[in-house]
């Protein structure tokens, strides 16, 4: 803990139902080049290191803008089950903690849940309520874009 960046835990999530098979949603979510199309905060997402695909141990680097803050961070995939769940552990840069993407089948298609928890990034540690609200709103919009994108491809 340093005075310049005191961790202040925030947790937020958002969910949506999409009228498409889990595999179709998963295909879009795991197309790394396509990630900025539905995850608005993310400007660039790339694999870093030897493993160039979604699997446990792969490392990813993202550049993003959250609220007013430009940030970049590196994550390691610590859990991967195709068409179902990915858990990213943020291991370097502006973010710490974990993010999870999960897709579960439903009668009309599938339900997608995005979750994130960890310290509020950078100076937002001083305004954790704002960080959580911004994060939740961002995830909700991301899911709306993902839903449109997947349904337009169906």
């Amino acid at each position: 803990v340093t005075r310049n960046n005191r961790p202040s835990e925030v947790r937020f999530s958002a969910a949506t139902d999409i009228a498409a098979a889990p595999e179709a949603v998963w295909w879009v979510m795991t197309d790394v080049a396509r990630e900025p199309e539905w995850m608005a905060a993310v400007g660039v997402a790339t694999f870093a290191g030897d493993v160039q695909g979604y699997e446990v141990g792969a490392r990813m680097r993202r550049q993003a803008r959250f609220l007013w803050i430009d940030m970049s961070w590196e994550s390691e995939i610590v859990r991967y089950e195709a068409d179902s769940v990915i858990v990213f552990k943020h291991v370097g840069g502006a973010l710490n903690g974990e993010s999870r993407w999960s897709v579960t089948p439903t009668a009309g298609g599938c339900r997608v849940v995005l979750e994130s928890d960890g310290p509020a990034p950078g100076p937002l540690a001083w305004f954790p309520a704002l960080a959580a609200a911004g994060g939740r709103a961002g995830l909700k919009r991301d899911l709306a874009r993902l839903k449109r994108l997947v349904e337009s491809l169906a």
Binding site: N4, L124, W126, A129, K140
Partner: protein, 126 residues
């Protein structure tokens, strides 16, 4: 009769002064305004949520600590580095007082999150 004639303007003046004092007390300070502007500029933020946070900081922090929070928010909104130490130095917080101020603000930030976060959740339907 004379007494009430003399007393009336005095009472009116006192009432006017009291009203002006209340109005002045309700006028947001530059620090409050800075916090409100920063909070409201965030997407999906709303007035009740922002005022909740500001009120919590204002009630629980000293004037100097509140100024630190406001300056941190100004810097965040401008995209400038917003470290506690540099803000404390700029506001001439004595070095010996910084640890206590830091801890106090961090505690206020945590409780503000607990109190105000459900408010935005309810209001925006997020």
């Amino acid at each position: 009769m004379t007494e009430s004639f003399v007393g009336k303007p005095f009472v009116l003046a006192a009432a006017f002064l009291a009203a002006a004092t209340v109005a002045a007390a309700q006028m947001p300070s530059a620090d409050e305004k800075a916090l409100l502007d920063t909070c409201m500029s965030a997407e999906d933020s709303n007035d009740a949520f922002c005022r909740c946070g500001i009120e919590h900081y204002k009630t629980n922090l000293t004037e100097l600590e509140f100024s630190i929070v406001a300056e941190l928010s100004r810097r965040i909104a401008r995209g400038q580095p917003a470290g506690f130490e540099s803000v404390a130095a700029e506001l001439a917080v004595p070095t010996a007082d910084r640890e206590a101020a830091f801890t106090h603000i961090a505690e206020a930030a945590q409780t503000a999150a607990k109190i105000c976060d459900p408010l935005i959740e309810r209001m925006s339907g997020l």
